[in-house]
Amino acid sequence: MYFEDLNALISMDGHGPYVWACYGLGMIVLAWNLLTPLRQNRAVAADIQRRARRERVQQSKQ
């Protein structure tokens, strides 16, 4: 590692807040991109299955 210790890594000679803020935001953007489609996928699948169950119930009543 280039930095001698944890303090040097955090402060980065005064540039720490800028660098770490960017990396924090970067992680948020990556996580958002990953989680949104996964949630969407679950919602769509649940929706389709719910509708199919409802249709089956209706069919059995008829």
Binding site: M1, M12, Y18, Q40, N41, Q49
Partner: protein
């Protein structure tokens, strides 16, 4: 290329099956490259002789800025394919690419602003590179909003396709803004046709990070379009069968 091949690729079912096969590989490779490139750049490279440690932002800023533009070009190509041949899958791609591109465009702008403060002494200047990039973000927002503005899916997809195709004119403006105008933003340091003006030690993690971000983008695009395919094709037999909803 045979036309049959083109049409098969455009079939949502074929694409769903195919993307399911490559998805894990793309995901693992993206994870390795992003984690490797960012860790290397953040912890192991030397500071820049001029900018000090603030330059470490480059490993996020350049990949996201590059992606923001490439995703737009991909989106415009998909939009024109959808517009000309009325291919459903192309329109799905347009709607899935817009939020991904917008998020990376926003990240490029914000990391650029944060990088600008210690380097230029200001968060923002209205110069060519920064302004044209901001316009790109607004184009993405416009595409997302326009799709929501119509009740009819066909009208929405036509309107979005036209906006996407017209907006592509902004891409060369962003690309060459640092050469055409006098700007605070530095010129490109990675050159394809000549030697890059960057130390190898910095260039390798940067290239790793760029490749990782592109693969990550492909990965989340595939995830999104798969959800979109299920949603739009939910009345078809294969989707119902796939989800065990067959009655």
């Amino acid at each position: 290329m045979k036309w049959t091949y083109f049409h098969r690729m455009a079939s949502p079912k074929w694409f769903y099956d195919f993307s399911g096969k490559i998805l894990p590989w793309v995901g693992v490779l993206a994870l390795v490259l992003v984690a490797g490139g960012l860790t290397w750049g953040l912890l192991f490279t030397q500071p820049d002789y001029l900018q000090g440690n603030s330059y470490r932002i480059i490993f996020l800023h350049v990949p996201s800025a590059s992606l923001a533009m490439t995703v737009y070009v991909g989106l415009a190509v998909a939009a024109s394919i959808g517009f000309i041949w009325k291919i459903k899958l192309a329109d799905m791609a347009v709607s899935c690419l817009a939020p991904i591109g917008a998020s990376f465009c926003a990240l490029a702008l914000v990391t650029g602003a944060i990088w600008g403060k210690p380097t230029w002494g200001t968060w923002w200047v209205w110069d060519a590179r920064l302004t044209s990039m901001l316009i790109l973000l607004f184009l993405y927002f416009g595409l997302i909003a326009l799709r929501e503005a119509f009740d009819s899916r066909e009208t929405a997809s036509r309107a979005c396709a036209i906006l996407a195709m017209v907006g592509v004119v902004n891409i060369p403006i962003i690309k060459y803004s640092v050469e055409w105008w006098n700007t605070l933003h530095q010129g490109s340091t990675i050159r394809i046709t000549e030697e890059s003006t960057m130390a190898m030690e910095m260039l390798i993690p940067l290239l790793m990070s760029i490749a990782g971000f592109y693969l990550f983008c492909l990965f989340v695009f595939l995830l999104r379009i798969r959800a979109e395919i299920l949603s739009r094709e939910q009345r078809t037999k294969w989707v119902r069968h796939l989800l065990g909803a067959n009655s």
